[in-house]
Homo-oligomer: 162 residues x 2
């Protein structure tokens, strides 16, 4: 979990972003970026705060919110609002765009990627004469009792998480 290729790449992008926007390159910011990229899956601010407490740099919640905003702005993290309580964040290496299925019972989050969402966005850009910046697609579902062996259709790619 120290410094893989993706994390290094993210650090470069972050550094460039900070320079270009006249923000200071503080050690806290990079410590947060590293911690965010060390994380697999979703996390909330409180969790990040706690785990940063044991890290090289201890940062305040205010700094976390501040830095997460910067990371959102340069697309190095994504923010999600699954339920009602508190936003969830996750790292975002721009490959591997995906959306989420939230299971009602367990709160478990599945990921999937369906090309049709891109088609919808393209259609909307024409229809409304807009430029789509990003989107959020959350499917709320529950596990089915029967039919244990599901087969995998062709268009959609799925992956699991936590």
């Amino acid at each position: 979990m120290s410094k893989d290729h993706i994390t290094e790449q993210a650090e470069s992008l972050f550094e460039a972003y900070l320079e270009q926007n006249g923000h200071r390159k503080t050690p806290e910011r990079f410590a947060i970026l590293r911690q965010v990229y060390a994380y697999d899956g979703h996390f909330d601010v409180e969790t990040l705060y706690e785990v940063m407490g044991n890290s090289e740099y201890r940062v305040s919640r205010a700094t976390l919110y501040n830095t997460l905003d910067l990371l959102l702005d340069c697309n190095l993290v994504r923010r999600h609002q699954f339920g009602d309580h508190g936003a969830q964040y996750e790292k975002c290496h721009r490959i591997k765009q995906h959306d989420h299925v939230i299971l009602a019972d367990s709160g478990e989050v599945l990921e999937f990627c369906d090309p049709r969402i891109q088609q919808i966005k393209a259609t909307l850009e024409e229809l409304f004469d807009i430029e789509v910046l990003h989107h959020s697609l959350n499917i709320y579902a529950r596990k089915r009792a029967s039919n244990p062996q599901a087969r995998v259709p062709e268009t959609t790619h799925a992956s699991h998480e936590s």
Copy 2:
């Protein structure tokens, strides 16, 4: 805005729901339902609270939240989480399912309905062996400067609001 057909229908459904679930049919609950259905477009709890203050029945915020939960449960309203601050609600006559485009600049909300989202849901049901309960698709975009006349593609149906 008094009592159109849709509102009457909603009241019947609400009444049936309350009976079947052993909830009391209080005047507050029906006053809220009527006010919700008098509303065109999205509203937040605070706005509803204020407008209810001038209404036949003045209700507390607690009752609003409580009643909105009931209305959500019987699918007479939908809840949305567009930005960070506070949920937005809207009435939901089960025809006319739609999703939202949020314009970054103005916060204006456009509505659209694309059949491909249903296809995606069907695919996911097979793929993960789940039963989709509902979904939330928000497209964040900004207006385009150029290309004033956009033409309307075939698959997507659009509507405007606010």
